[in-house]
């Protein structure tokens, strides 16, 4: 029996582990992939207080070491279910079931996919969700970026320095992202805007060769690209817990700044919670609050 099981070893989950261990609670952190969460893809973190120039990898390594040194136990297993009875709780993975007094769900979010046939097969063979991770593979090659938010605009700008041509495909005629970035993109000769359009087909042999783009007027065109960078938002990883905690219409766990869900003794922290600012610092902040609230709950 653990005091607290934390699902997810990103900045939110590991911060929760640090706070819970300092209060001498027994802690198990379950992680489905690598510790650190999505921050490990960030080359340089520039907006975290007192750590002005640290790589996402070093940040993740440091917070992981800190949690482990304080005595947090970490298992690389994917939580697939929470069993919540009146008397106790268990978090279930394919390898076991871990009983505990309180749970903190800190699973973060995943990139939203386009939902096209063979999209999964082509991931890493032309289809990408991270321009800074994979951009280097497309030197002087044509690529496309899909999306209308800041991530899509910044990806397009980043790729414009590397790729031969960048097609920016957006389903509307105006962008949700910053106007200043749109202006910068308009000044680039190698950036071509394809508006009121969506990607409807991926054509590939071994790797992506071209995409079919359909306009809102119904016309289609085929564009030869080697890379397709999708930046159409993120989706929270909460579906496995929908039977025990309430989610909003977009799938985020409903909880305010106290990180308390509607289920007693189950808390949530980080990007998968309903909130307005999703940053490293707010994830860490959630972790501290969720741990503190979980400790209070156990004492009651």
């Amino acid at each position: 029996m653990y005091d607290i099981v934390i699902i997810g070893a990103g900045p939110a989950g590991l911060t929760a582990a640090i706070h819970a261990r300092r209060a001498e609670k027994s802690v198990l952190v379950l992680e489905a992939s690598s510790y650190g969460g999505q921050i490990i893809n960030t080359p340089v973190i520039e907006n975290y207080p007192a750590a002005a120039d640290i790589s996402g990898f070093d940040f993740a390594q440091s917070i992981y070491n800190q949690a482990v040194k304080l005595g947090a136990e970490i298992k690389f297993e994917k939580a697939i279910r929470i069993e919540n009875t009146e008397y106790d709780k268990s978090v279930v993975t394919p390898k076991g079931s871990y009983k505990c007094k309180a749970v903190i769900i800190a699973t973060g979010s995943l990139n939203r996919k386009l939902g096209l046939d063979n999209e999964d097969n082509l991931a890493g063979r032309g289809v990408s969700y991270c321009a800074t991770c994979d951009g280097a593979f497309y030197k002087n090659k044509p690529v496309a970026v899909v999306g209308g938010g800041n991530t899509a605009l910044e990806d397009a700008l980043y790729l414009a320095d590397i790729a031969q041509t960048v097609y920016l495909i957006h389903r509307r005629d105006t962008f949700r992202g910053e106007e200043a970035t749109v202006s910068k993109l308009k000044q680039r000769d190698n950036v071509k805007f394809i508006l009121n359009s969506t990607v409807t087909k991926l054509n590939a042999e071994k790797r992506l060769k071209s995409i079919e783009v359909t306009s809102t007027d119904g016309s289609t065109q085929t564009i030869e690209v080697n890379g397709l960078f999708t930046a159409i938002g993120r989706i929270p990883e909460n579906q496995s817990f929908a039977d025990v905690v309430s989610l909003d219409k977009d799938g985020y766990i409903i909880a305010d700044e106290t990180c308390k869900t509607n289920a007693k003794g189950i808390f949530t922290a980080g990007d998968n919670r309903t909130k307005s600012v999703r940053q490293l610092v707010t994830a860490a902040s959630d972790g501290a609050i969720a741990a503190t609230e979980a400790i209070k709950y156990i004492a009651e």
């Binding site: 690598s34 490990i40 991931a123 890493g124 991770c133």
Partner: protein, 103 residues
């Protein structure tokens, strides 16, 4: 066995002409998930003396990356008798990488 650094020059000898299963880790220094995976790949090399584990830096060996359609890293490719049999992209836990070996 230690991880062997492979380049265009020794790729054929170390990977394609290998008598044993080869696990090839395509990576780069600037890639966070690659650095996460590195100690795991090293452990697999130590624990499986019957296979060969090689590391390919895609910045130095962009021709190899291109030839093997590597367009996202970390990318782990398993070769048997010089032929690709399995591949995984992105960070994967150790179990998942070991499973690719199918030994």
């Amino acid at each position: 066995m230690a991880v062997i650094k492979v380049t265009t020059e020794n790729f054929e000898k170390e990977v394609l002409n290998s008598d044993v299963t080869v696990l090839a880790d395509f990576n780069a220094d600037w890639c966070g998930p690659c650095r996460m995976l590195k100690p795991i790949v090293e452990e697999i090399a130590e624990e499986n003396p019957n296979i060969k584990v090689v590391s390919i830096n895609i910045d130095d060996e962009d021709e190899l990356a291109d030839e093997y359609d590597v367009a996202s890293i970390p990318c782990v490719v398993v070769f048997k008798n010089g032929v690709e049999v399995e591949r995984s992209i992105g960070f994967r836990p150790k179990d998942a990488i070991v499973e690719l070996l199918g030994e």
